[in-house]
Symmetry: D4
Subunit: 253 residues, 8 copies
């Protein structure tokens, strides 16, 4: 209950329009049932939406194309930018039927629509990937960071077995404000990258590999045990998560 | 080889002090054996040391007290601040014999010595912990962030089973530029915190628990699968890692 | 052997219809081969059937449609209510060919037929679910509890990353006599709910998620390690189990 | 803010003791900063304390004896009953120094002090255990349920390898309102018990065993996969959790 | 080298057909290169074949229908009985094209052809199964034991959640010389059965179940941790292995 | 109730010593409360004790020396032979104080006392072990089989890395009626042995090894996946289980 | 920068074609931006290519047929031999459209094209396989070693359950300079082979098996725990890795 | 049976000292019972001992000091060099009491005694280690390779987080004939090293680390999934295994 609302009700009592008992009932009731959206937390939530432009990102996985399209339409109707992840082509078509302006990112399996509500990030987000099989996850991070207003630099196919490919690009590494590193198999790339830079590295293990990669577990454990400073980790194949954390960091003032 | 060095050698050739063949040999040899510390990467490394004041943090685990003390003395002799983690009291005593000014943080099991080489971070690092048993790990994060130049706010004993304890502190949550969340058992606190704020959350699973906590695995998996945006994860019990990542983020311009 | 049966046989001996040896043989044989359904346990079993109306619930998984239909017909022929879980549409059609009155619950993948043999539960069973992908499991719990005679309240899409959605509904939480909480990913919702109420919480991990969710293992471990009182756990995706335990509790006098 | 408080402040305004602006400030401030203990959730918390008599159970594991004693003293000072779990004899002595009336349960490793604030449960809680090695966990469940006001019946050493020991006691099984079943090794006892009764069964795996018991994992998985209805599971060795859930159920009206 | 062969070569030397040096060379060469089929082990192998009639059982899994048919034809051509496991109907058809007399066991997914080379076992092999979903594995054990010459008794659908079904059949349990127990989910049936009899119990975990059954791991661990004497375990779903071990035991004199 | 008992009660009724109602009450009561020890299963249990001489083997692990000594005294008092496994020297001393005739097997960590109640087995039990570190488990199997009345042959240090050590002993392998094979590390020995013989092989994985042996898991999995016929497996380090299964098989007529 | 290049630039300065400043700029720039392919590491890389003829092997898994064909064409265009692994027939057809001379190895799922750039290895690489189901992996090792210039001997179907098959071939084992051993299930073959020879053994676990083979984990752990000297291990199903390591060893002078 | 032995027996027959039947019996008996040490495999074993000088390496782990000393004495008595691994100081003292000339390698926990029976290897074995905590395992590899006759170069503290330390040493990498790489935590070093050289790399994961290193599992999985060619892996902490494989390779002609 805002000061304005309180002043109004007390004014009505002062003017005799409301009895004391009615005022007490009204105020006590508001204390009892006060919705949480009136609290700071909800307000924080709105600030966040305003600054990032993404009050709700749609995870396509486990939703029907129809559900995804309906949610997407509601989001865009509020003037927000749109990001749908893990969307196959059929889901894209369903969304495009509602929102003709959406764009499909085939490799990243993402649907986006950019509105004017996105605040630009401060620096560059570098997304590095170890192998060509890691591209879908890396591209999901790229698309996520881009639609959230970040300038993104791609540095792909720089696995640790051919170090010179990575070392040759040290200027691009040094130019980034935050780095996302995507790798499957042994997941060693984040450690090597973090040893070369002094910015936060978000490591994304991928399920690329076979046998004892155990669906990305090997890469995940490798990254969690990184001997280099500055490496934190997200879930296997979670390119979206890494991209959005990078964006959060890149939007810090 | 810097321009100054090149100019010097060419000058000596011009003055007849060096024959052409000797110059060719010298230059070709430098190209062939050029140490990596002359490259950009090594320079980046020095920049990093300069800005963070921590070219080398000593992990006490697996070192003898004597080894730790010797390394510590060498670091401080270069004018750097010191952080030794996983140090028991005996290790602290060994270090203090070399460096009387060091301080021991009992709960965090850390030894520190602050020199003037540390650049202050921009905002506040909030370190939240779910239970009192998580304090050693949380304090390691606190000590790490503090010695690296950050203002740190502690928010302990705010586990998800008593949400009001956390919600009551929303203003402190909202005031942080980056948040470290330490939790064992089911590891749910980072998800709840990340849902309330719009800054990066570094989650630290702890080995607190028994039975099916499997030494922190339950908390680790919970955090990796967080449904909230903005959560990245470090190794079980890695308070140092979380504190230093938070510091990296908090030092970003 | 009931008193009535014993009295009958002794009566026949008294009337000279049976010799002493024949009576001894008959009684000794009954002691030797006495089927367990004559014992207390079997009777308990019948009491249970009478009170719950479900002497046998059919798990459709791993059965052919024909097998499921045959068993269903036999159950209904005895006047019992019917519940078939994990039934796809083809199985439903096969059962409907035998029992035209059955109803199909598409999301829950369950077939039901309600007879008059079900005793109503005492209070309300609340079924809460974290995300929309958890609905099939949550609906299985709902359908199970309903067909077993319970009043059920649904509280869906209240994941911990948006706490206000849950907190706003505290009155419905407070009104339940027993609560089923369904969640995948990090499985944190049961801890949060149990911290807000003082009734038993049955937690159901779901296999929703990817990567390090390891088919629901992350959620399962999280729930087993809940720091909140009152949380017990069933198998991953076992909505039926949770619904029937909730019903058992809700039928306790 | 209660009606009484609101009426008081409005009365002071009516009497001219407070200006309108001051009242608006006061009320708006209370809306903004209202502590959560004034809300329904906190009140639920107090109801819970009142009914169960246990606003806070102390987990001794990971606390020093001094910490445990200090917390225990604070709880008893409020007139509450006390339960400290995972307490060794040294912790007990430290607590007894503060609270001479406490009692130590050696096998259960628990410290209790019973005050008049405990509401009796409705029926009997039966605690069954498979082997003698399971007794510490079983006794923790017993002590927990007893101190929370329940009548408890012990049924120990009834492992499934000697079924007659269990079957002989079917009357005690049938008499219970809720059953806790504690078992290590293969953890089969809950399934057998649940097949004989129609009340909720809380299964507690124990870490008893060796080799492929993997610290209780075998028993845990066995219980989660129980083919019997009515079995829910708590963490390995969590006798306290099972006892308190049983108490929650046994206090339902 | 058999005595007959040695006598022949010495005879040729005695008759002057072979010089001493040639005999030494021949014998020394045979010692050096003597094929292992001439040794006791190989002979043991033939004894085994003779007694069991199964020098080679064909595992269909991972073979083409053509490969399986070719191997089957070779086996039968030697006069042996045939067992092909994990054979789908297409593999059966391919084998039948070669061997019209073969029989297909649909549930067991096995192809058999019985020749006169099988020695009958001494007693009865009882194959018990917990649930109807375990039948494929149980039937594989049945077919294996039968084709190897054993009298087999089936005792299906006797899971531990309805003990009376099992206890009612104690005479059949007591009549068996060796018992195979097949169970998925929690895998408790072997413990219960072994507690009722005094003969060896071969436990077969099945992959039946979902969620935390982890493809039969729960049942496997349960069986390995059996608290009952006399239980040994084979691989998940290995009905063949259990049947052939039971046959080995049942053929012991 | 035996025929004799029934005849007695009917006789009393016939003689007018008991009224009809009293007879009905008595018989109905016996049907209702009939203890399981009167049933076949309990009798089977006694038969088993008679034939094996071991109604109860004491697992020392998790028991105090006093508990073990008390149970041991009770067993011997009934005239039974005694076997206590996992007994350290202190437990042995406690037992010897009660039963001076007991013998301690240091390597096997077992206490035995042989009475005249043991039936001899039919053939020889061979216990093979791969390495010297496996001896404690192998000796537990040896002592178990011996005290249960079996002739035992030891074949130790025959690991697969030096095949000739094993092959040289094929006559002892061929002479056994049942074979226990104990091995840690990769656990390959049971497969090799089972390929050389035609009798049942009980495989015992041991926790010998380090690193990726994971406490015996490697050996356990290896044995479960044996490509040889006739191998069944018991729990890691369960020498007792293997010895008693071997004895069961060796006592089959 | 090679001596020749340096001499040239200094010559131009000597001839007055370049000013001192321009020379300093040029040389300093080369030091700063010197590509890594000018360093020893890159040169080592070229040596390696020259000696092995395989600067880049194409892993077909996770690539489209078009991608694979394009990369293959580029490799062959440089005059190199070609190896594409994990290639299905469609990928082969796509490559053949570009490179008509390529050969397809159906069982090995590999595409090869041999150019004159391959140096022959010194001795024979023996590839042994336990069962017929292991052939795809074994053949991948064979094809890899062959195309890399090695003489390869195949020794298939020599599993440890029939030792005589292996022992009979000891001369071929003894003739190899390096041995690759491929086995699924319990993975015991490498230990047995390594016990018979004195050359390096590269063990390849395969995912052959079911149940507790856990996709090759059992074989992998068995091989890592080998009690025999000389066994090192590669990833599950990694026939290519084993073949190329064997080739590396076989090319050592 | 050697030619000399055969000739002797035939001579006795020729001289009438043995009847034909006796000769046939003798020869047939020798064929039947021929010890395996007379076969090629055993001879291979002796060749191996001769070439490597290590017929038996003693694994101290799991042996008493007395057992180790007795075995060591026996080995040295045959004129062989000695290597005892995993030996603590007490074991060393026990061995030195028997063999005063032995040397103790404290960090490697190894006891050695060098005799003249060791053949020198061809090139240099490089042992690289990532961190100082990996030294015990690395030193075990060094001591093993040295005592087996190899020239060893140590390259320690070259973890991937500070690449320049490794790259600076490329000449030593390039000079090695075989490389052992020891690393804990994420285990990335072998991949990086293998990408820089063209010789075999033996990777040794160590149990160094905490939390999600799971006792070396993270490093092990990382190494098995190496994206670089030429990497094979041994068990966690198995410095001995790596050293002896490196020696095998380095002794290949």
């Amino acid at each position: 209950m805002t000061p304005t609302e309180i002043r109004a009700i007390l004014g009505r009592m002062a003017r005799g329009e409301l009895a004391l008992d009615a005022v007490v009932d009204e105020l006590a009731g508001r204390f009892r049932t006060q919705p949480f959206e009136d609290l700071g937390f909800a307000r924080v939530d709105h600030h966040r939406a305003a600054r990032q432009g993404f009050p709700e990102v749609v995870l396509g996985l486990g939703k029907t194309s129809e559900q995804a399209a309906a949610i997407a339409a509601r989001i865009v109707a509020k003037g927000h930018s749109l990001l749908v992840t893990r969307a196959d082509r059929a889901m894209f078509e369903a969304i495009r039927a509602e929102l003709p302006a959406v764009e499909y990112h085939e490799v990243a399996r993402a649907v986006t629509l950019r509105n004017g509500d996105v605040t630009p990030g401060h620096g560059t987000v570098l997304v590095a990937a170890a192998g060509t099989s890691d591209l879908p996850v890396a591209e999901e991070a790229v698309v996520t960071a881009e639609v959230m207003g970040n300038r993104v630099d791609r540095l792909f196919d720089v696995g640790v077995a051919g170090l010179h490919r990575l070392l040759r690009e040290h200027e691009r590494l040094a130019a980034a404000r935050v780095i996302v590193v995507v790798a499957g198999m042994e997941g060693a790339l984040p450690s090597v990258v973090a040893g070369l830079v002094s910015v936060p590295v978000i490591a994304v293990p991928t399920s690329i590999g076979y046998g004892a990669s155990f669906g990305g577990l090997a890469a995940l454990l490798g990254m969690l045990n990184s001997c280099a400073n500055g490496v934190s980790v997200v879930n296997i194949d979670n390119g979206f998560g890494a991209g959005s954390i990078a964006s959060l960091i890149n939007h810090l003032d």
